[in-house]
């Protein structure tokens, strides 16, 4: 187990007072491990921005503690807070670059703030601009850059003081899908190379799927689901999580396959349509071929779908298994024993297995 980098305990944030009071965060607790990419997803108004902004105290919560590297950020005085903030990078949906400064000047800003000397500053800025692939734009002004390039400047700026944590507030929401991908790749790259802990918020499950290790689902100011991304994708417990996942994984079964009837091919033979869902290594073909050999059944692949969650393959396969009743039952049991999640879409499956709904 990696050590904890960020720990929020019972954080409550209320905006306004009296009748106009909005509880933006309600008793939120969560833990971010060192070096992971932690995604927070939720619908508009769920409290995502509030949550991430509490981490560097751009918002001050009414209750709860927020520890970063073991230090409670809610208890720091002004000077200590500024010091701590230099160790926490942040990037924004609308980039928030200084329009009066060039790329160089923008990346230099946090170094000037931290009092880094001129020579070191120049060297560091060049390295950072290089890291984000903008060396040819060193003296361009933000107004001369595309959205994706602006966000690269934002990332270089956020990394200037070698922070241990990077906060991303909807960092890709203003970008097109292609640019989003390249920015996410850059984030994944710096996460690995610099052993950086990243917390990002988004309303796009796609972002979570691409780069996150852990996901938390936030709804009405509360964390309703939280765990490794593959697990949440495999077994979403809340309807909100299911809705988000549905949008990015095409796990919906085509209607005509759903409608397939239990087919009796010949005397004593049965054909069952089965959905096999898999995550990671226990995937696909070897299982199918050994199934055919062991149980002497025919397997027709009707529908297949494969996707990646970060680097983990994730998908489902719909097959029709045809053979003598006992053999078909035996194959289903065998598949279940392999740790695959199976669902019989027609007929009645073996006990304990979920039937198609």
């Amino acid at each position: 187990m990696a050590e904890t980098m960020i720990r929020l305990s019972n954080v409550t944030k209320i905006y306004g007072h009296g009748d106009g009071q909005v509880v933006a965060l309600r008793d939120v607790s969560l833990e971010v491990k060192k070096g992971e990419i932690f995604g927070i997803i939720g619908l508009s108004g769920a409290g995502k921005s509030t949550l991430i902004r509490c981490i560097n105290r751009l918002e001050v919560p009414q209750r709860g503690t927020i520890e970063i590297g073991g230090r409670d950020i809610t208890k720091l005085n002004g000077r200590e807070l500024r010091e701590a903030r230099r160790g926490i990078g942040m990037i924004f949906q609308h980039f928030n670059l200084l329009s009066s400064r060039t790329v160089f000047g923008n990346v230099a800003f946090p170094l000037e703030v931290a009092g880094v000397d001129r020579a070191e500053l120049r060297k560091r800025v060049k390295e950072l601009v290089d890291l984000v692939g903008l060396s040819d734009k060193l003296y361009a002004y933000p107004s001369q850059l595309s959205g994706g390039q602006k966000q690269r400047v934002g990332i270089a700026r956020a990394l200037a003081n070698r922070p241990g944590v990077l906060l991303c507030d909807e960092a890709t929401s203003a970008l097109d899908p292609e640019t989003t991908k390249s920015i996410l790749n850059l984030l994944r790259d710096v996460n690995r190379r610099l052993e950086l802990t990243i917390v990002l918020i988004t309303h796009e499950m796609n972002v979570i799927k691409e780069i996150c290790d852990t996901v938390a689902v936030i709804e009405n100011g509360q964390i309703v689901e939280n765990g490794p991304v593959v697990e949440v994708f495999a077994n979403p417990r809340t309807s909100t999580a299911r809705r988000f996942i549905k949008g990015v994984l095409h796990t919906e079964i085509p209607e005509e396959i759903r409608q397939r009837k239990l087919i009796v091919h010949r005397e004593g033979c049965v054909g069952k349509t089965v959905r096999i869902s898999f995550i990671g290594q226990s995937a696909g073909e070897p299982v199918i071929s050994s199934l055919i050999r062991r149980f002497d059944v025919d397997v027709n692949i009707i529908y297949a779908n494969l996707d990646l969650i970060k680097e983990t393959p994730f998908g489902s396969l719909i097959v029709e298994i045809v053979g003598p009743d006992d053999n078909v039952e035996g194959s289903l049991q065998y598949l279940a024993d392999q740790g695959l999640k199976i669902e019989v879409l027609n007929g009645v499956g073996p006990t304990g297995l979920e039937s198609a709904g």
């Binding site: 926490i88 924004f92 329009s99 009066s100 703030v113 931290a114 002004y141």
Partner: protein, 219 residues
């Protein structure tokens, strides 16, 4: 009307006096007005250094300053002017009321320019651990620079016309020339020439300000 070569030298001298009065009082009013405007903004509710008491006091003083008609300010502060520069007449005597009158104007103009700075950029600076002072000198002023230049241009234009008024009570400059020769001695040609010079001066100031503001803007 006969064109008198002496008119030319009178005009040139008066123009220099006006430029001197406007230049010095613009610089001095900027020196006091800019910090005042910045202070007004940052002490505002939900800004980087909220301080309701200070904010309200500044606001009241600035409004009071702006509501006093210049012609009244001119005579009302004569004792103060004498105390400060030893005389209440001439270009030097005129610069004190001009500066005092322009400070609250500059403060408001600076306030509106700085309020234009995107809040997200200020917040980004806070998130990077910038101090209040660093935010003022590295974010607020540079980001608002082109707005500040336009605001100071408006101030300069107003100062030109106020300086003419100050000139009327013995302050020298183009206004003084127009009143003394053009009005009191019925020299229509001098009156006309003075007005012409004023129009050109104001046009020049405005064009210079616009050009500078455009150059400074990287939006």
């Amino acid at each position: 009307m006969v064109w008198d070569p002496r008119v030319w030298s009178l005009l040139v001298e008066a123009l220099w006096e006006t430029l001197y009065m406007v230049g010095v009082s613009l610089a001095l009013s900027a020196l006091f007005g800019i910090p005042l405007g910045v202070l007004l903004v940052i002490t505002g509710p939900r800004h980087i250094r909220p301080n309701a008491a200070l904010h309200n006091i500044l606001s009241v003083i600035i409004n009071a300053g702006r509501s006093i008609p210049f012609i009244i300010l001119l005579v009302a502060i004569v004792p103060f002017t004498r105390l400060l520069v030893g005389t209440s007449i001439g270009t030097t005597g005129a610069m004190v009321p001009l500066t005092v009158g322009a400070i609250p104007f500059v403060a408001r103009v600076v306030e509106s320019a700085i309020l234009e700075v995107e809040w997200g950029v200020i917040e980004a600076a806070q998130a990077m651990g910038a101090t209040t002072w660093q935010i003022i000198v590295k974010v607020l002023i540079p980001e608002a620079m082109s707005g500040l230049v336009l605001g100071l241009t408006i101030t300069a234009v107003s100062l030109v016309s106020y300086s003419a008024m100050a000139g009327a009570v013995g302050g020298g400059g183009l206004g003084d020339l127009a009143v003394r020769y053009g009005y009191q001695r019925f020299r229509g040609d001098i009156m006309l020439a003075t007005v012409l010079v004023l129009v050109i001066l104001v046009q020049g100031i405005q064009s210079l300000g616009d050009w500078l503001a455009r150059r400074l803007s990287h939006r």
